[in-house]
Symmetry: C2
Subunit: 247 residues, 2 copies
DNA sequence: CGGCGTCTGTGCGCCAACGCACAGATGTCC
DNA sequence: GGACATCTGTGCGTTGGCGCACAGACGCCG
C-alpha cells in the first residue's frame, strides 16, 4: 500500500523519468499548507519552489486600493515559483494558499540546478509555464467580458478538478476576493446555481453536484485552459501515476 | 552613419554579447510589418520568431462571441513567438500587427537551437517571458478594476514608449478593440484627455503632448509593468545601443 | 446549552459601461 | 472638386456590478 503522501500526486514530479526523479527525491520535503498562508509577497525573495499535491495556491495581484484579482491558480498540475528558473527571483504578485493541503518543497538552488541540466525537468517546467501563460491571458479576457456567474462556474470547475473530492472548503467571501468581485455577487450567483441543482453549500463548504451543468453555465475559458494544459503536458507524462518510488 | 534599420533597435538583440550576436546575425531577416497583419492565429503553427524594431504586435484572445481583449503588447523590448522555445509551438491567442513598422525575423528552428545552447540568449528570452507574464497578470487585474480612461492612459503610454516619435497611428475603433471596450467609451475618454491638453488627435493619429499628465490619469499598472521590465532586463544589457555590428 | 463571531442573504440607490441609432467631420481617390 | 468610405461624436434607454446597511443563520466553544 502506497503511503498517504507521495510526490507523484503532483503531475510534474510524476512525469519525471526515473533518473531525474531519483535525483530530486531526497530533497523534496513534504510541507503542510495552511489556508491563507502567504508563500510570497510582491517583491519578496523566493527561497523555495512548491509542488502542490492536495493544496491549491492562488497567484494574484493586490492593487494600491486594496482590491485584488487572481491571475491564475496552481494545484497538483503545476508548481509555484516560476520566477526561480525564469530569472527574476520575484514577481509583483503574491501567492497565497487558497485550499489547505500539502505540497512538496524544493530548495530554490536545487530547482535551478535541475533546470539548468536541460533535461526533462526543464522541458516540463517550460511547458507548464506556457500553460500558466495561457491561463493568465484567458483570465484577462474573461475579466473583461464574462459575467460573475460564468466566472464563478469556471473557477469552481478549475478548483474541483484539482482536489480529490468534489467538495471545496471555501467561504463565499474568499471566492469573491479571488475573483475580485463583491461577495454579494457571489451570493446571488451561487444561489442560482444551487437552485439549479448544480451545487450545494453550507457555511464554508461547496459541493459540486453536477459538473456538466456547471460547464454549460461556464464561459469558454474553462475549456480553453483545460485543453491547453492537457495538450502541453500530456505527451510528456512518463511515470504518470506509478506510486512505486515512494518510500 | 548607421543604416536606417539595425537589429540593435530591438533590445533583446542589442543585449546579446558579440559571439552570440554574430551567430544569429546572418539569419536575421528584416521584414515589413503591415497594420493588421496576422502573425499567427489561435492553434496555428508558428514558423518564425519576430523581433520588432519599429512595429508593435498585439497578443490577444478572440472569444467565440467575437469580442476580444489584448493580454499584452510586444514592441522593440521583446519578441513574438514565446511558445517556440517554451515548448508548445502554438497558443490559443492571436498575434496581430497593431502599429506598422519593421521586425527582424528568425527561423523557429534556429531560435530553438540558440535557446538550447543555454547562453545569454536563453537567459534573455526567459527573462523577457517573465516580464510578459507580469504584463498579462497585470492586464487581468486592470481589466477587473480600472476604468476605461485609466486603461486608455496605460495603453497610450506603453505604446508611445515603444515607438520613436510621440505619435501613434491608430483609429479609436482599433484602440477600443485592443482594450476590449466600446468605441464610444474611447471617444469619451480621449475627448477628456484632449480637453485636458494631454493628447491631441485627428482621424487615425494620436499625439501624446503631456506624458506626465497621462501618468497621473493612468492606473498603477503602467508603472508596475515598466518597472518590472527594466528590473528584469537592465542587468543584462551588454551592447545596448552600439550600432557597430550592423552592415 | 447559551453566547458570540463569522458567514450568508436581501434590499436599496448609484454609476460605469453597454448597445443601438444616427449625425457630422475628414480624408482619399477618381 | 465631388462622391464616398471611414472615422469621430452624441444622445438615448438598459444593465451588470458596486457600496452600503442590516437581518438572519450557522456552528463552535466555553
Amino acid at each position: 500500500m502506497p503511503s498517504l503522501h507521495n510526490p507523484s500526486q503532483n503531475h510534474l514530479l510524476a512525469a519525471l523519468p526515473p533518473a531525474e526523479f531519483e535525483r530530486v527525491f531526497p530533497h523534496l520535503e513534504l510541507v503542510p499548507m495552511a489556508l491563507g498562508k502567504v508563500l510570497y509577497e510582491p517583491g519578496g525573495q523566493l527561497h523555495n519552489a512548491y509542488f502542490p499535491t492536495t493544496a491549491i495556491v492562488s497567484l494574484h495581484y493586490v492593487m494600491q486600493s486594496g482590491a485584488s484579482a487572481e491571475s491564475a491558480g496552481v494545484g497538483n498540475e503545476g508548481v509555484v515559483g516560476i520566477s526561480l528558473f525564469m530569472g527574476g527571483n520575484t514577481t509583483p504578485s503574491s501567492a497565497v494558499v487558497q485550499i489547505a493541503g500539502h505540497a512538496y518543497r524544493l530548495d530554490a538552488r536545487l530547482l535551478k540546478e535541475e533546470f539548468d541540466r536541460a533535461g526533462l525537468m526543464q522541458h516540463l517546467l517550460l511547458r507548464y509555464t506556457q500553460a500558466l501563460i495561457t491561463q493568465m491571458s484567458q483570465t484577462a479576457a474573461c475579466n473583461r467580458h464574462h459575467t460573475v456567474e460564468q466566472q464563478l462556474c469556471r473557477w469552481l470547475l478549475l478548483t474541483v478538478d484539482r482536489v480529490p473530492s468534489h467538495e471545496v472548503v471555501m467561504t463565499q467571501e474568499l471566492i469573491a476576493s479571488m475573483l475580485g468581485v463583491r461577495r454579494e455577487g457571489i451570493v446571488e450567483s451561487a444561489g442560482r446555481l444551487q437552485r439549479a441543482g448544480f451545487i450545494s453549500y453550507r457555511r464554508g463548504h461547496i459541493a459540486v453536484l453536477d459538473r456538466s451543468g456547471l460547464e454549460t453555465r461556464a464561459c469558454e475559458c474553462y475549456a480553453v485552459v483545460k485543453k491547453e494544459l492537457s495538450r502541453l503536458l500530456s505527451d510528456v507524462l512518463y511515470r504518470q501515476s506509478s506510486d512505486a518510488v515512494a518510500a
